[in-house]
Each structure stands twice: as C-alpha cells, then as structure tokens.
C-alpha cells in the first residue's frame, strides 16, 4: 500500500480479513465477538449495534484499528446494512481479487487496460475452465488468503460452476467471489 508500489493482491485480501476481524473486535462487548467471521460479515449492523452509543463506540475502536477516520453513525445505521458492505466502502474486496485474477490471466489481458480485463470472458482469461492449471492456481491462492470460514467447499463449488458457465465475465465472477461463502 505504499505510494506507487502496489501491494501484493493476496496480501491485500489477507488485510481485508484482518480489518473484518478488527470490525468484529470493535463491537465491544456484544455477541458479535462470538460470531464466526462469515456470520459476522453478513450480520445486520443495527442488530449487533442497536444503540447510538454502541455505534459511536464501534466507530472509535474501528477507526483506531483501520484508519477509516471518516466513518459516521449514519454509515452504520442507514447507509450500509452489513459489516461486509461497510468494510467494502473503504476497502472493496473486489479490487484485490480482480488484481489477483488479472495477474494470473492470459498474457494478452495482463498487458491491457484494467477496464478491458473487467469486461473479458472467463473463458478468455482462463482457458481450460475450473479444471485448468491457471484457475486451479487462482483457487489455491484465494484459499491461502481468505479466512477459512469464508471460503467453504460449497462456496468453491459454486465459484467453479460460475467459471465453467458459458458467457461469464470477470465482472460477474469477481463480485461473486467477493460475496464470501
């Protein structure tokens, strides 16, 4: 994340889960501390932090841990429904996933613009489908970076099915992976 030296996308994915855990820890004294990470990511913010005092306390702790210093109570009470959506505002998981896929895609796409990669078909970017060497490498890398409870076997099966589906674009697949499961 240092200036002009972009981070390793896998490190950024790992950092995203570090921040999600920091959000969970910032739910000071609530039952969120006992939730597994996937349950917490999808939990309704207002059910975990129902009062204004709880939300303010969360903001102080979360800002201290992450540096997202423009967080407002309205972000928690109105704008974002889940903790995953809240974190994605400051740290969209889509981005390091897309950068990681881009880095392992066919050379012709790696040399192009990000917008072109975003619009590309999975079958173009990763010939061979879910059984191909390139995509197998992608899944291994993602498995090493994701929190295990957010990268379940069922989720992997679903993602692989999307990879094999005709007509799936990178812009369809990446949000699906970033949706956790």
């Amino acid at each position: 994340m240092s200036n002009l030296s972009p981070a390793d996308p896998l490190d950024d994915i790992k950092a995203w889960f570090v921040h999600l855990r920091a959000f969970r820890s910032a739910c000071v004294g609530t039952n969120a501390m006992d939730m597994n990470l996937l349950t917490f990511a999808n939990a309704a913010i207002t059910s975990v932090l129902p009062t204004s005092a709880e939300q303010n306390n969360f903001i102080v702790s979360a800002v201290d841990a992450t540096g997202y210093n423009d967080m407002a109570v309205s972000d928690l009470s109105t704008t974002y429904k889940t903790f995953e959506a809240l974190l994605d505002h400051w740290n969209p998981l889509i981005t390091p996933i897309a950068l990681y896929l881009w880095s392992l895609s066919v050379p012709s796409l790696q040399g192009g613009a990000s917008a072109d990669f975003w619009k590309a078909l999975i079958s173009t970017a990763f010939p061979g489908g879910s059984k191909g060497v390139a995509w197998t490498g992608v899944m291994n890398g993602l498995a090493s970076a994701f929190a295990p409870e957010c990268f379940t076997a069922a989720f992997q099966t679903k993602v692989n099915a999307a990879v094999d589906a005709a007509g799936t674009k990178i812009s369809d697949l990446v949000p699906q992976i970033a949706g956790l499961g």
Partner: protein, 452 residues
C-alpha cells in the same frame, strides 16, 4: 505462482497514463461520489465532505487514478487536482466550492496515514473537505484533473449530488402573525412575531475541540407577549479518551424574554460513555440471562442563576440560584433465555430444528429494561433542612407477542400478522418531573408496541 504481477503490467499502464480525455465507464455515478458529514473523534468537530470512491476495480474513477498515479506531478492528496462546483440542470457551473483539505482515510502497511494514492485501490475513498457554504438544494458536480491548471479532465461526475445535511452555519428568520396571543398581564391581542434560529456547529475549523454556538429566539411586536423568548448558547465538547467513546461538553446559555424582565444564565456540563462489557460474557451471557449490551451511564450538571424574574399567576417566584446534578443509567436488551424452555411455544420448536450459528442471539421470550437515576439539588433544602435528593427509575417487562402464538386461535387479534414484530410492555415508573418542581409520580402502564 506470480504473486506480484503488477510490475509486469505497470509497463503497459505507464504508456497509457495521462490520457487527457475524461474516462466514462458504464458504472452508476451515484456510487462514485457521495455527500458526507461526519464527526472527527476525539475533537468532535463536524466535517462536510464529498467522498470520491476511487478504489473499486472496473469503475471510471479507479481507471482514472490507476493511470494518473504514474505522473510524478499528480497527487490525490492535493486539492489542486479537484474541483467541486454547484451546477444547474444543464451542468453549467454557477459557483465553485472551496476544497479546504483532502482526507485519505486509510493507512499504509506500517500503520501510518496514507499521503498518496497507489493506483490499486488504496485509499478507496478520497474525502474532499468543503470550506464553502452549501445548501441542501444545491446540485453538485465533482471533477478530477490531470494538471493543476485543471485543463485536462480525468473524471467528471453526473452533477446530481446533493446534501441532505451539512455542518455549515445555518440561519433562519420566519415572520408570522399570531392572532389572540396571550400577554404577561393576562390580556390577549393580535401580534406579529419573528422566529429566528442560528447555529454554527463548528466555530473554528481546525480546532482540537469542537466549539459551537446557537441561538433560538422569538421576538414579538408586543413586549408583553408571553411567548417572546431568546436563548443564546455557546460551548465546547470533546472526547475524553482517544480510543474509547467518552464525550463531555460544557456550555453556557443566556435565556429570557425579549425585554429581559425574565433573564437567567444556565451552565451545563455533561459526560457520557459506555463501560467495557466483554468481561461480563460469562456472567451475563448464559442460559439464564442474556445482556449483550452495557448500560449507558450519563452525568449532567446544571447551574442556573436567575438574574431577573417575571412573576405572574402562572410562573411563581423561583430561587435565585439552582444547581442540579443528574447521574443516570439506562440498560436495555436484557432477556432471560431459560423462559423459552419453560413454555412449549413456537420458538422452542423452531430452535430445535437447527442449531443456531455461533453468536446468534437466543430467542427473546421475556425481556426487561431499566432506567435509574437521581436529581441532587444541593441548594434546595427540604422541610427538615436537608439537601434535596430525588431518586427515580423505571422497569419494563417485555413479552413478545410470539409467546402467545400457542393461543392464536383464541387470540387472533393480538397474534395476527408477524407477532415477532410486536411486544407487550408492562412498565412501572417512579419519576420526578424536573420541569414541574420535581413533582413525583408513580404509575403502571401497559401497552403493545411495534419493534423496529
């Protein structure tokens, strides 16, 4: 496996950098710029900003920054490369707004605040902190440029952004006619009134303490108008601990009627926080009791000095000086999971079907809420010449209507619809009314209320 591929793709990206034409991709612009007001902690100073979302791969702003970062003269932390303007419906600029500062709400790997964009999603948001007055009716367009001269545009929003609230000073003056208004001498007559309200939530922009001022006034064409009033408040507030939400405020209000025949000075001091709570997990998160949230303590102190008093039939003479200290605690979201096991109702059946995920709150079959506090009035002596202390409190017993689902055939009215969204509240309150000379009332109330 290539874990750091960007060095490879950079070479190509650099050749594409700094294309002068604006980039427009088919992504909803409402997601790329947003109006934002937030409070900085611990200074508690409010900020009005336009948030530019640049971190999401595939968007126009991401592509713009991805290319611009390779120009050593470009900086996303400099206001020179941005413009925020009020535009009309034809996107013609009617006023350019001052960008007072730029906030990059993210940190680098070493935990230091970011001072530059990296072009691969960090920071994902740029806050353009505004220094110019704007109104809620203004339509705002945001521009990002390659150069400081702002000749080559990288991005332009759709000009449909607006604020619903801002932290800038507000002033309203509303004239009104008031027929048959009551006067202090008991008579009635038609009068004209001017309602005035002023508020500046942040008198000094870069202060480490939030200093504010506000005034709410009603001036009348008749000096005897019983409703004439003014109240001018100035004060400051700040967080006490930087890593724990704990705010205090001190303010002074001068209030009275427009002739100052009724005039008093009120000094207020307040503090509120939340106690650490996770340590209670074993004691307050079990099969008997479930209380995941801490109680909320507050302390408010108020000193009133009455300079002039207008004594009428309706407003008796009050003591020249009053001091009140009002500590209070409020504790909600307490339930008793064991109650669900005592009764064979729907929730128990549902719970048996599948094991809930860890951390899932237990079903609420019986809940309670508490409020406790006291008024300490050291200048107000009782008949036995003791300082006056009045305690107060209330307790509510909460029973969800879903508890009655077993009797749905007999109680169709109360259990129809979604009974989980309604609850019965049985409340006993022993309260004192500070506005009515601390008169004490005790009452039971029963009701059915909707849950959010």
């Amino acid at each position: 496996m290539n874990l750091n591929p960007l060095g490879k793709s950079f070479k190509t990206v650099i050749t594409l950098a700094l294309i002068g034409a604006p980039i427009h991709l088919a992504v909803g612009q409402d997601q790329l710029v947003s109006a934002k007001t937030y409070v900085q902690y611990p200074s508690l100073t409010p900020v009005t900003a336009v948030a530019l979302n640049i971190g999401q791969f595939g968007t126009a702003t991401y592509s713009a920054v991805e290319t611009a970062v390779h120009d050593s003269n470009w900086s996303c932390a400099s206001p020179d490369f941005f413009k925020v303007a009020v535009v009309d419906k034809n996107l013609k600029i009617t006023r350019t707004l001052e960008i007072r500062a730029i906030n990059l709400p993210d940190r680098d790997k070493n935990g230091r605040p970011l001072t530059q964009c990296d072009g691969s999603g960090h920071p994902a948001v740029i806050d353009l902190i505004l220094g110019s007055q704007i109104s809620t009716s203004d339509q705002i367009q945001v521009f990002m440029y390659v150069d400081k001269a702002q000749t080559k545009q990288l991005f332009a929003s759709d000009g449909k952004l607006s604020f619903t609230a801002t932290s800038f000073p507000s002033f309203t003056a509303t004239p009104q006619a008031a027929p048959g208004e009551s006067l202090n001498n008991g008579a009635k007559r038609d009068v004209g009134q001017l309602s005035v309200a002023f508020a500046d939530q942040n008198l000094f922009g870069n202060s480490s303490v939030n200093i504010y001022a506000k005034s709410t006034d009603l001036f009348s064409t008749d000096a005897e108008d019983a409703k004439s009033a003014f109240a001018v408040t100035g004060g400051f507030q700040r967080g006490l601990f930087s890593r724990w939400y704990s705010t205090y405020h001190l303010d002074e209000t001068i209030q009275g009627n427009q002739t100052a025949s009724n005039l008093s000075a009120v000094t207020s001091l307040g503090f509120n926080t939340l106690p650490p709570w996770h340590w209670t997990d074993g004691a307050l998160n079990n099969a008997f009791i479930y209380a995941p949230l801490p109680f909320e303590p507050t302390i408010a102190a108020q000193y009133t000095h009455r300079i002039n008093q207008l004594v009428t039939k309706k407003s008796p003479l009050l003591s020249e000086d009053d001091f009140t200290l009002n500590p209070a605690v409020s504790w909600s979201n307490i339930s008793f999971p064991f109650v669900c096991k005592l009764f064979n109702h729907q929730k128990k059946t549902d719970a048996a079907k599948s094991k809930p995920a860890p951390g899932t709150p237990p079903p609420v079959c019986l809940g309670t809420e508490l409020d406790l506090g006291l008024w300490y009035l050291p200048l107000d002596l009782t008949t036995s010449q003791n300082q006056r202390v009045d305690g107060f409190g209330d307790i509510s017993i909460l029973v969800p209507l879903s508890d009655f689902s077993f009797a749905s055939t007999a109680l169709t009215y109360v259990t129809k619809g979604d009974p989980a969204k309604f609850q019965v509240r049985i409340k006993y309150a022993d309260t004192v009314n500070a506005a009515n000379n601390y008169a004490r009332t005790k009452q039971w109330t029963f009701g059915i209320e909707a849950l959010k």
